[in-house]
């Protein structure tokens, strides 16, 4: 349901902010699983995905910081990876010519193969329509035509409710040293000054990855990683296309571990699968605590352990499972 500016409420905004957290979080296990399936960690594909995963974590932090600034401590639910359902991607709304190069795709967890790199490109595909548009606000987050339109609505919606912004509330700042050109990655101020910070975070998300409306794929220097990115000026879509294009040139994607049929899982295989599920559940709790101001000491160790467990699953021939 389309909303007028007057109908737009803080509750609507909070729903949108939670959705932003969900959107960003969905990509992390999906991308990490593809990355850790690559046997050779020095392969550029591995390294490119690594940089995107790090930025998805950053985006999640940004979304959560914005949510907290508006009084919402976000939840972190287990994402669903089924069929071809990627949150908020309805390719029926897109130009078939734009989508065609990235078919077929899958939304199920798996190794870096054609269907997964296609899905990764589709998730990050920019909104090429750069013309003047009326920004619409909807009650339901699923009503937006693209992630770009969603983030535009978030920007507008935040602006309309800027008086509700309270700076310094449960802000997380884990990535600042990796972005020397970025003034700040938290919402430390209230109201108008806080809104400037909120909009900066939205721009960071959309310029690095999802939802940008632009004709080139380079990231402005302010949003570029200055520490550990082999291709800091390329956005996610460009990075994933580099992998896809490189595979075309070589005739294949990098060698990956392959998941065996579940029926062939050994007791050891089942054990490592269960450990991953257990640790991922623990991670969701830690993230919720992190964005809820609880400063959980185990957050990063658990996050790292999940990475290890994904790798461990692949080494056992087990396709990672998160819930």
């Amino acid at each position: 349901m389309k909303l007028t500016h007057d109908e737009w409420t803080l509750d609507h905004l909070k729903v949108h902010l939670q959705y932003a957290v969900d959107l960003e979080f969905w990509t992390i296990p999906f991308y990490m699983s593809a990355m850790y399936s690559i046997k050779d960690r020095s392969d550029p594909a591995f390294q490119l995905i690594r940089t995107v995963v790090n930025q998805e974590m950053l985006h999640m932090q940004c979304a959560a910081n914005m949510a907290n600034a508006f009084g919402l401590s976000p939840t972190v639910e287990a994402p669903t990876y089924e069929g071809t359902t990627i949150p908020h991607l309805d390719f029926g709304l897109d130009d078939p010519k734009v989508i065609a190069p990235y078919l077929p795709y899958t939304a199920e967890i798996g190794p870096l193969d054609l269907e997964h790199i296609n899905a990764m490109c589709l998730i990050e595909i920019p909104d090429y329509d750069t013309g003047e548009k009326q920004v619409e606000l909807y009650a339901g987050t699923e009503e937006y035509g693209s992630i770009g339109a969603f983030y535009e609505a978030l920007r507008l919606g935040a602006s309309l409710l800027k008086e509700n912004i309270r700076g310094g509330v449960q802000q997380v700042d884990a990535f600042a040293p990796f972005y020397n050109n970025m003034p700040q990655m938290v919402v430390s101020e209230s109201r108008s000054d806080g809104l400037n910070q909120v909009i900066l975070l939205i721009e960071l998300i959309t310029e690095q990855g999802e939802g940008q409306s632009k004709t080139d794929t380079s990231i402005p220097s302010v949003f570029q990683n200055t520490a550990d990115d082999m291709s800091p000026d390329d956005d996610h879509f460009e990075k994933f296309n580099m992998i896809k294009d490189s595979a075309k040139g070589k005739g294949k994607l990098p060698a990956t571990y392959i998941g065996k049929p579940r029926g062939k899982y050994t007791a050891e295989d089942k054990k490592v699968e269960a450990i991953l599920i257990e640790q991922f559940t623990e991670l969701r709790g830690a993230l919720k605590g992190l964005f809820g101001g609880k400063n959980p000491e185990n957050f990063f160790p658990v996050m790292a352990s999940v990475g290890g467990s994904i790798r461990n699953c692949w080494k056992h021939g087990v396709t990672p499972k998160f819930s």
Partner: protein, 690 residues
């Protein structure tokens, strides 16, 4: 009773460290950072003078005038049953001192110790920081001080550039000491343990051939000293660590222009063989298998364990090349190909946990970000009862694999410090990695594992307390320490045991005071297997030592790779060079209140250290200041051994004490949180359009 004992000196390689004080403490005999029975104090701390094992506290590090105490290398003799010398570890060994009665009834009446210290740095080849040992492959690097005429072995060059204090021999029962200085007469041991004076020995110091020298910390007239303790054990003291420079033709001290190969400069580092002859009450004598001493840099963070230590490197080489433990590495019956044995089970406490502890200890000397600290804490918390698959180290997901091409991958792989020559990042050794892989697969043992004999434990401890992995060129020793050619390779058959440097046979006959006795000595990759002369280990190090210690704080990876960034990160991102051995960022004990940590400070800080470019942070900006002020740098000590008034510090903390570079409250360069970056290089000016 038939004499079936053999005698060996331990540690096989030990380290005496510089100090500006005449007083000294003793080199540690425990391994850095590792738990010790019955105490909270971890291993690696030096030992109090006159004590068997009591570790120092912060008050023992300087004398009353504030001078840094030297660290003496203590050597002991152990007797072994000749029949059991074919495997490692032997787990045996009985210490022999003056007065010891052997099983065959003989009593030790004297120990005649001898050594010979030299410093060949100025006469040797340049250190090539991006080539390492490969600089010697089918070639040799450029000579240091090439303006001094002659080839590497010319008497002209050696007379002017080599510092040779000559040999000294002392009797333990006579409680003698001997200085390796310019004016003490050389002496050696002859048949029957007799000490012979060598008045013709060509002792060489820089002042012999330079009428005038720039001596900012006094004349360079000694390379050290040796003496014995009350039981007849040998103590070797290093020099004061000073350095001197020549004047140029304008009468100006030659400026130090780099960190490794400064022309016209000499330092007082040294190394050489240790030998001992045992004299018995029946008039017989026996020689022990000797050892080696390296005199060099102070230990500024003695308990902060290196992820890769010299021990790890030497052990790795002996395992893979000299048949140290066939049950761990070797060939299958009837096959030539060698490999690690899948059946081998490492012991968690001895083989795995030290790496995890080292990982966690880096926080006390490097400016790690908070998230990394928490991850490191989780690594340290892993114990032998944990299922590896449930730990943060599952699948060794964050460990760089030395068997693969991963040295250019930085984050998130560990260790995240700079690597060996030609590589961006450090890896654990292949043996460390194999042992960790076995643990990761659940193939490991709990408990203490194979027990080292007391001498063997000292060998491990001495080497484990030194910087390994990144020999560019290193702190105590360089890459040559991994070259099997320098060791007694038939360690089983000879009875010498492993890790023992082969002594080049020096007879000290036909001496001529005008002609250098030592030659340029051993170099790698040139089929020179006849042993090392004095000075053949330290000559691969920087000259003077202070400039390298000073500069090797933090760098971009390109410093290792011909100036081109090959890492997966930004070319300006800075990483630590030797974070455990050369502290970068530290917590000052004086500033800790109620065990709450203050902000970190650079280890080298205060006037003369302010850096415009973060790449030069934590260093003396003028290399001459490093020569003058190295002894004022603080030492990192565990909280349990920090003594400041009646304050109590947690043993969980490792804090800087006895630093003299700044006083409390003085401004210093702030320590950035990692990752931090060097200033970008300036673009060349554009030419006007044609």
């Amino acid at each position: 009773m038939k004499n079936n004992s053999i005698f060996r000196v331990h540690p096989t390689i030990n380290f005496a460290r510089f100090g500006t004080s005449e007083d000294y403490i003793l080199a540690p005999e425990t391994s850095a950072g590792l738990p010790q029975d019955g105490t909270d104090t971890t291993g690696g701390l030096p030992i109090r003078k006159g004590s068997e094992t009591k570790p120092v506290t912060s008050k023992d590090l300087r004398d009353e005038e504030g001078n840094l105490k030297k660290q003496a290398a203590r050597y002991r003799i152990y007797a072994y049953d000749q029949a059991n010398t074919h495997s490692y570890p032997e787990g045996a060994g009985t210490e022999v001192v003056v007065g010891t009665k052997l099983p065959d009834g003989r009593k030790v009446v004297d120990l005649i110790w001898s050594s010979h210290l030299a410093n060949k740095k100025a006469a040797a080849y340049n250190v090539v920081n991006n080539k390492g040992i490969l600089a010697y492959k089918d070639a040799v690097p450029q000579l240091r001080n090439p303006e001094t005429h002659g080839d590497i072995d010319s008497a002209y060059r050696l007379n002017r550039l080599m510092i040779d204090a000559g040999p000294r021999a002392i009797s333990a029962s006579s409680n003698e000491g001997a200085k390796f200085d310019r004016c003490t007469r050389a002496s050696c041991v002859r048949k029957g343990g007799k000490i012979k004076k060598l008045p013709e020995y060509p002792i060489r110091f820089p002042s012999d051939t330079n009428s005038r020298l720039f001596e900012p910390n006094g004349p360079l007239d000694s390379l050290g000293e040796m003496l014995t303790d009350e039981k007849g054990r040998l103590l070797v003291l290093a020099s004061s660590g000073n350095a001197v420079g020549q004047y140029d033709e304008y009468g100006v001290p030659i400026q130090m222009t780099g960190d490794l190969n400064n022309v016209g400069w000499f330092d007082s580092a040294a190394d050489g063989p240790i030998s001992v002859t045992l004299k018995f009450d029946d008039g017989s004598t026996e020689d022990a298998f000797g050892a080696w001493v390296v005199c060099g840099d102070p230990a500024y963070a003695p308990q902060i364990r290196n992820v890769v230590s010299v021990w790890d490197d030497v052990y790795d080489m002996f395992v893979r090349e000299l048949g140290l433990q066939p049950e761990l590495y070797g060939s299958k019956k009837g096959q030539k190909k060698t490999a690690y044995k899948a059946s081998y089970r490492p012991t968690f406490a001895a083989d795995i946990q030290p790496v995890f502890i080292a990982c966690d200890l880096q926080r006390w000397t490097a400016n790690l970000p908070p998230l990394a600290l928490r991850a490191h804490t989780a690594v340290r918390a892993i114990d032998e009862d944990d299922d590896p698959d449930r730990t943060i180290m599952a699948a060794l997901n964050f460990l760089r694999n030395p068997n693969k091409d991963e040295t250019n991958i930085g984050t998130p792989l560990m260790p995240l410090s700079l690597g060996a020559a030609g590589t961006s990042f450090l890896t654990v050794t292949k043996t460390q990695y194999f042992l960790l892989e076995q643990w990761s697969k659940g193939k490991f043992k709990k408990g203490r594992g194979s027990k080292l004999g007391p001498g063997e434990a000292m060998d491990v401890a001495a080497l484990a307390n030194c910087l390994g992995g990144r020999y560019v060129p290193g702190i105590e020793v360089s890459y040559t320490i991994k070259d099997q050619e320098i060791y007694i390779q038939d360690w089983q058959k000879s009875g010498a045991g492993p890790f023992r440097v082969k002594h080049y046979p020096l007879t000290y006959r036909k001496l001529n005071s005008e002609t250098p006795y030592l030659t340029s000595g051993w170099i790698p990759l040139h089929d020179m297997a006849d042993g090392l002369q004095p000075g053949d280990i330290s000559k691969f190090m920087a000259t003077p030592w202070q400039t390298d210690y000073n500069s090797c704080s933090i760098h971009a990876t390109a410093i290792n790779t011909d100036g081109v960034n090959e890492s997966n990160g930004a070319e300006t991102t800075l990483y630590w060079s030797w974070p455990s051995q050369r502290p970068d960022a530290v917590y000052v004990a004086e500033e800790v209140v109620n065990n709450v940590l203050p902000k970190q400070k650079w280890s080298i800080r205060g006037p003369g250290t302010f850096a415009v470019n973060p790449a030069q942070a934590a260093t003396f900006q003028d290399p001459l200041q490093s020569v003058n002020d190295w002894d004022k740098i603080g030492i990192i000590v565990q909280g349990s051994n920090v003594e400041i008034g009646d304050r109590e510090f947690s043993p969980d903390l490792y804090l800087e004490v006895q630093g003299l570079l700044t006083a409390t409250g003085e401004a210093t360069d702030p320590v950035a949180s990692w990752p931090f970056n060097a200033n970008p290089s300036k673009k060349p000016p554009k030419c006007p359009p044609h």
